[in-house]
Amino acid sequence: MDWSGSIKKMKDSTQEYFTRHKIPSGCAVFGVANEAGERFDGRMLIDGISVMHERSNGLGGGFAAYGIYPEFSDNWAFHIFYDDTAARKQTEDELAKNFKILLSEKIPTKKVSGISGPPLIFRYFLDTGDDFKQNSRRKGADKTEQEYIVDFVMHINKNIRGAYIISSGKNMGIFKGVGFPEDIGKFFRLDEYKGYLWTSHGRFPTNSVGWWGGAHPFGLLDWSVVHNGEISSYGTNKRFVSGSGYECTLSTDTEVITYLFDLLIRKQKIDLKIIHLILASPLWQEIERMPGDKKELVKALRILYGSALVNGPFSIIVGSTGFMYALNDRIKLRPLVAARKNEYLFVSSEEAPIRKVCPSPDILWHPDGGEPVIGMIKKNTVKKEAGKRLARLDNRPVEV
Amino acid sequence: MERKNKTKKSSELIDYIIIGNSAAGLAAAEGIRELDKAGKITVFTEEGHLNYSKPMITYFLAGIVNLDRVSFKDKKFYSVNNIDIRLNTRIKSVDTAGMSLMAEDGSRYRFKKLLIASGGKPVIPKIKAAGTDGERNRHFNSIDAMNYKKIGGIFTLTTLEDAVRVKDYIEKHGVKRISILGGGLIGLKAAEAFLEMGIDINIIELENRVLSATFDRRASEIIEKKIKNKGSNIYKNNTIKEIYITDGRISGYRLKDSRKMECSLLVIAIGVVPDTGFIDSGKLRINRGIVVDDHMRTSVKNIYAAGDVVECLDILLGENKNIAIWPLAVMQGAAAGINMAGGNKKYSGGFFMNSVEILKVPSISMGMASAEGGKEENIEVLKDFNQEKNIYKKIVIRNNKIIGVILVGNIERAGIYAGLIRNEIDISSVRENISKEDFGIIHLPADYKKHLVVGEGTEV
């Protein structure tokens, strides 16, 4: 049954389905970051991911873009899918109760053949109010502002039928839906956005269920994750994050990986540089050969965070305000290619997209399993553009 | 130098000369070859057979083995070990000072090292005789070692040649009963063979029982009874006073008790003595046998002796004694050979032991088995006699150590006792088990048991 064709009728059960079932999928991932913080528009990503058409099957595509809302860089930007106006009304009531809404609008789209049955797609720029700004505590509750956002997102996604927050960070946004990624890009008019860090995803789910909320990237706060593969440690990872209050509502690998990043980096304060030692831990036989200090460190990480080891095939690209991070599983069961040209860092499932947008990179390599690729964004440049008005973007092509 | 010049013919200098081609001599040759692969070894023997085992002659006699099988080393032994063997060569004299010897044919040999392993020779008593020989009608007044061979039907039984002759004589003359003078070891060994052949025997024994030296009264009785049951006789406290000769052959004899007996074949088996007559002793010490130390060295440098010709340590007596038995001859010979070739092997001494089977009754005696205790306070005797099965076991214990054993009827595991004697094991903790019929290693004192069970092999 093609549920996407009758999404209005089936939306409740579709979302229900997604929250109950894990859907394994193959995929294409492609990410580009400008480490200098220079922004470029979404066409490079659309161009790139389009050459990996074969890796998708039209049941999901999406993009995450950072630096696209400089005029609201200090405010929370929520992208929300609604199945209907009732869900929107209910959600907006909740938003109003919990935030100061600075701007709410429909996200501009255009008609593209191959994209059908989109939900209602809105974005909101929100302020949490003075309490957090002053105390980073709110009404005596033992929470940081970020936890407050996480709780709110979880609450909406879990409890309001027909509403789904797909993006909840600052100065970033996620655009995704059912269709091939290049069509989704055009649908969302991404050529009109400029960001310094983009990731994109083409999806090949192994069933015919297409649901806009289930497309990738998955996002929470500033995190966005695109992922290729199917991890075998899902249950273990899920139980691990659940011990810290993360509830996996989507049953996707991407979701649980996002939570792992959030938990390890934001909550446990583990340095980005060693996060791969947890997510794709070295083998014991490698650990045994390490010098004393390092061995002790890696062993301790593995003992404590064994349940955060992501097992089975994956290549992921994680986007965040300050960096782009790509990682392969430890025995490299999925492809990952990286390249650099000047300030640009490319990571991709295949070499072709990189060659498409950057025919002669300075360096191109195939990272080992468990070897991270990190692009750090120089924050100064980002700051410089903050405060600009939300505006349509010019069409200047990116030159690399 | 001077001495060398004395030697008339320019004689060969041989690295190792061995007099005697039997147990001790050949064990020595092997011992030499363990260390010295090249040195020349020459073995002299007065006998004509390549090699044979003396204890085997009674088995040959009994027909258990034929002439081909009396050898204890195979034919290749001499070539494999590169040994020059000189048969039919009686050594006439040994010049211990000149380090040379002369054969009966007059040839002289010089040696670097000499082993005397000439064994023993039978004792022939002087007995009054009456009669003439067959050929020259020569009259005999008495027989003795010099002339007994000239009378048909009188034999000793210590060499293969003796056995061949006895066998021929029996066949030729259809002998049905054989008299054996001497009820000791050799006599009984001969008796074993004749009984096996189905020939009745008369044993004439000076003492009041057979095997008086090695058996006690009970053991002797069991054997005597067995012999008598078969129609054979034993004349105890007796000896031959006169031999009757008819046509050069023995026809009868008169016993000490005056009884006259018919006899067509007499075996004289009253004992052997070391064969040392040919040695120009000089400084070489000879008591009853050649005296050797624990490395089988005689009192003359580079001259060794081993086997039945020597007297050396009896571990039970604690002094030298001539114990003429095969196992000791082999051990002595092996030690002598190794020492001759420059090695260092101690001969740790031995004690008497013997195995004889009369009419399917096996028996073994070892050590000071005839002791009865009582005389000496520290000697204790354990006996176990099963009349029904005719099984007898006797253990002689001195200072808590076994010094003698007699087993009759059941000899299984006899060597365990030999081990206890040799290793001087204190058996006080296992005394109650020691004479049991099923006595075994498991009954032994814990340490010795462990040594046997856990170890890999003994150095007895």
Binding site: - | P55, M56, G415
Partner: protein
């Protein structure tokens, strides 16, 4: 003094009396090996009459062990043998009795401190003793011991084991 290669490197049967369970399967399989058919049921039911096991189990209470010829380095039985039947093979170290040569004088029985040579009266008078199953990879008594109380190993290995077990033993 050159070593006899046979003795130091030969595999011997070592006895672990603490693990002998007194089942006597060693004796049974030894008898079967020297039976005509070498088939256990047939051997026992039809041929067994007088086949002697060449391994002996001694047992008192819970103490027991199976013992067979130790194939001594300096074998007293070989010295004592008057017929040349008892020989120690210099290459293999194995002491065997050539049954064709043996005359049944029992000299070996007289000197063997282990008491592991027995009179075999089934046919001609000869002795019966363990030949270390020279025609098998592992002697049948060892192979069939259900508790590995018999081991067929080299001296070095045995010494290693002894050290090990001594460490594990009460002082």
């Amino acid at each position: 003094m050159p070593e006899r290669p046979g003795d130091d490197r030969m595999k011997r049967i070592y006895i672990q009396e603490e693990y002998c369970i007194g089942c006597r399967l060693c004796e049974i399989y030894c008898q079967v090996k020297y039976s005509k058919s070498k088939k256990i049921i047939k051997a026992y039911k039809e041929e067994m009459v007088d086949i002697l096991p060449r391994v002996l189990v001694e047992e008192i209470g819970y103490n027991s062990f199976a013992i067979q010829c130790r194939h001594c380095a300096d074998a007293p039985c070989v010295s004592a043998c008057i017929s040349g039947a008892m020989q120690k093979n210099k290459n293999t170290g194995v002491v065997t009795c050539d049954e064709d040569k043996c005359v049944g004088c029992w000299s070996c029985i007289m000197v063997c401190p282990y008491g592991v040579i027995r009179r075999d009266l089934a046919g001609r008078k000869i002795v019966s003793k363990c030949d270390l199953c020279v025609d098998e990879d592992i002697p049948v008594c060892v192979k069939n011991c259900p508790n590995e109380a018999l081991k067929f190993i080299e001296k070095d290995e045995n010494e290693k084991n002894m050290v090990k077990s001594r460490n594990g033993k009460k002082k």
